[in-house]
Symmetry: C2
Subunit: 505 residues, 2 copies
């Protein structure tokens, strides 16, 4: 074997090793959530910490550096296949990010975030922001320090955004969120003032769990979740996790008095899982065998949850079956009333409970605060007041305690700045993809109302899923839709949908 | 910190690392058996192979050697606490075993056993020993080679026995199996000739799974399985696995037309789990946090399964509850008839389906063949005939095809020579422990018939469980019973029990 081939094999083996370790960590995490006995939690957490650290060490090892330096020599990129080339580039990105932080500063930061999450929990429990503020102060300071070490071009916050959405900038987000806000705020107001609000009260009565489970499983089979490459369990907070290409698991949670929670969270996680179950086998066992970004990932969960699962066509096909399972609760509810009820929209305080329409405003509030923090204009001390002002302005509601205001999300306590925008990006990407999909599949509503999701899944697999992380978010979006991220599609979609649900005009 | 303390800390960290890796491997294995999706099996198996190899590498690493050599310097043992000292000794044993095999021979052997297991499967499926014979030949040759490399004192086979039961020898086994055989063969004959055989046919009718599950869980709670430190799942072949001190899982399998299978296999695995759940917390996270040998481990599963679970006292307490759960099947069956039915004994061909009485004869047959193989007297070619002759002699039955004869067990295909005797040792240890327990707890039958297992569990914990691997099997047995392994206790126990069940004399 030539030196080139030897190095290439060695690099792939190193990455394979890291993937196997990550698979073990992923399974241990899944197991902790789905039913590991409580007395085993502490040693299990230690094992997770230890194996995660080993993966980190491999990603910044001398061995890794040797491969990267070798392939970065003039002319070597041209000899590499596209998959290995992209793997080298991704590994280099991670190597540089990790190497630029001095090891002792990183250790201090990890310790801080762990303390900070405990402080946040206590602060939330007591609705006392002052218990959390000093930790948040330090976490912000650390992130400012990291940004300086990592460097930035236009806006310091760009560097954090890029951790989750490669290529995303404040400039771009200001533009798209500006457009979106301009169109959503009046829509939310009109919805609130509508005299034809749906009655959703019948959704919130007891639905037995066995029936919920049966229906959820049926829907998963219908939309094409591959049970030979995954399984469904129950957890406090639903999630999806891809352990390997043939093992992409989802979880859900059954609420006795709200069957929509389990159903739509199941479809949501299934969207994430469909993405990872349908990555090309060529990418199996590589770092490219995952979604390309948080935003694109979220576009798939949101697409299946909202654009499919909350569509009129979907329930044209499945409502009578749901009625048969729950005659006591639904026999007297018409399809039209059911459809309107599951699309009820109203301004609320809690992001994770927000509806499809108002959700994006919750994200914009967080985005603007994060941007101001890393512009250096705002400190931890200022945040509660700014938070409440923005909620009043965008959603017309104000929390009477910080527990339901600034303390509601764990993200900042864990240092995840730059993550929130992904949720709204997901909605925008989804609407933009859907627009193109409808051009390619003009019979889309017909297909959905027949329960024939195969053409839709194939469209998504061909254009998005199979590429894994081989293409960037921007390459995907431009490749598929012919333009960069454009918020108008989401605004159009929401306007059309909610004007109909709320009988506006 | 002194060099001594530094080395000690380093050694414990290395062992802790190995334990965390092993925990990950254990969980991945458990997950494969309990419900991992089939498309994920191949990458999962690779991850298991990779992480297991890492543990092996650590066990023979230069780092390990440095610690061992350091602590083996004159005077250092005296400064070590007993736990670390024992860990050093165990690590040295494993280090030497692994280091004496040339790496390339070991790799060839691992490949061979994997091919051999496939060949065995096919041979068994076709009941054609000739398909397996060439592989078995090579596996035997490898084991002979390993014995030469590892060395031996009296009998080559001793070296293999010691892999599973430290200190066990052919001399000792010949003696105990000789005694046992002399007493069991006539007993089996008498049982067969008895005119008062139990009628067990009512056991083999449909018992619904929900009822079986409920009763199994109830019995587990009653005998003290800690559900906060374990969980119960379903697998094709029941097993117990200790992932860490607070996470010792068991599995079972429900047969629709034989409720005794799930019940007794659950109690059996629970016996293994009680051992591992009750090891002293001082040993948590060390290599001593496990059963001290296969034989002692098996003594606990057999004790709970047979001496408790198949005892008259046990069913005096629980039979009426079982009847209430399955009135259709059991309402007309008396306690006495039920007790006799679950203790039905008759010579049969298949080891894993054998009853408490005849089981030991299956093991002796295998032991004698293995001994003759490693005495050099017997080759793979001779085995089927020898096998059938011994079955005729000891059990009075002969398989009409090798599928139910020499091809029934996977052990030899995987190279596990020396393992089989552990099963019979377990029975002998159990009876010997029980004899002493009855001296200390003369009210033992009373306790069992009241469902009060606490004193029994405490007795076992104090004398066996808490020590983990800190004491050798021999130290345990002599410490508890005042003598080395003695087969008369098992013979006494079986004679008493089966003379009563079969109304002999």
């Amino acid at each position: 074997m030539s030196e080139f081939e030897q190095k290439k094999t060695g690099f792939h083996e190193l990455i394979g090793r890291m993937k196997s370790y990550s698979e073990a960590v992923g399974l241990m995490y899944w197991d902790l959530r789905t039913g590991a006995p409580k007395k085993g939690v502490e040693p299990r957490s230690q094992a997770i910490g230890l194996l995660s650290t080993e993966v980190f060490k491999m990603s910044v090892s001398e061995e890794m550096e040797t491969y990267l330096t070798f392939f970065e020599q003039p002319g070597h990129f041209d000899q590499l296949d596209p998959i290995t080339l992209k793997m080298i580039k991704e590994s280099r990105k991670e190597f540089d990010l990790s190497k630029k932080i001095p090891a002792d500063r990183y250790r201090e930061y990890v310790t801080l975030t762990s303390q900070s999450e405990s402080a946040w929990e206590e602060a939330k429990h007591n609705s006392d922001y002052s218990l959390f503020e000093p930790y948040l102060d330090k976490i912000i300071a650390f992130n400012r320090e990291f940004i300086e070490l990592w460097g930035y071009k236009d806006h310091p916050y760009d560097t954090l955004l890029n951790l989750y959405e490669p290529g995303l900038t404040v400039k771009k987000l200001d533009e798209v969120f500006g457009t979106l806000r301009e169109r959503l705020v009046p829509l939310v107001k009109a919805v609130q003032e509508s005299s034809a609000k749906p009655d959703a009260s019948f959704l919130y009565q007891p639905f037995n769990k066995a029936g919920q489970k049966e229906f959820n499983r049926y829907i998963l089979e219908q939309i094409g979740y591959d049970f030979d490459a995954g399984r469904v369990d129950e957890t406090e907070h639903p999630f999806a996790t891809g352990l390997n290409l043939g093992d992409v698991r989802i979880t859900t949670r059954y609420k006795d008095n709200d069957f929509t929670f389990a159903l739509f969270s199941t479809i949501h996680e299934c969207g994430h899982a469909l993405y990872e179950q349908n990555i090309s086998p060529e990418l199996a066992g590589t770092i490219l065998c995952q979604g390309t970004s948080m935003g694109i990932h979220e576009s798939q969960s949101r697409f299946w949850e909202n654009m499919i699962g909350r569509s009129e066509s979907f329930w044209t096909r499945y409502y009578s079956e749901l009625q048969k399972l729950f005659p006591e609760q639904l026999a007297d509810v018409s399809l039209a009333d059911f459809y309107r009820a599951i699309n009820e929209a109203k301004p609320s305080l809690i992001r994770i409970e927000a509806d499809e329409l108002t959700y994006n405003l919750h994200i914009m509030i967080r985005y603007e605060l994060e941007k101001e923090i890393f512009s250096g204009k705002v400190t931890a001390k200022d945040l509660p007041e700014l938070w409440n002002n923005r909620y009043r302005e965008y959603l017309g509601v104000v929390a009477d305690s910080d527990e339901f205001g600034i303390l509601q999300d764990v993200h900042w306590a864990g240092g995840s700045f730059g993550y929130f925008p992904s949720y709204a990006l997901g909605n925008m990407y989804a609407a933009q993809f859907e627009k193109t999909m409808r051009k390619d599949l003009p019979e889309m509503d017909q297909l959905i109302s027949e329960g024939n999701f195969q053409p839709i899944k194939e469209w998504l697999t061909e254009r998005i899923y199979r590429h894994g992380k081989l293409l960037t978010p921007s390459e995907l979006v431009v490749g598929i839709t012919g333009e960069e991220l454009n918020p108008s599609y989401l605004a159009d979609y929401l306007e059309e949908k909610f004007k109909s649900v709320y009988k506006l005009n």
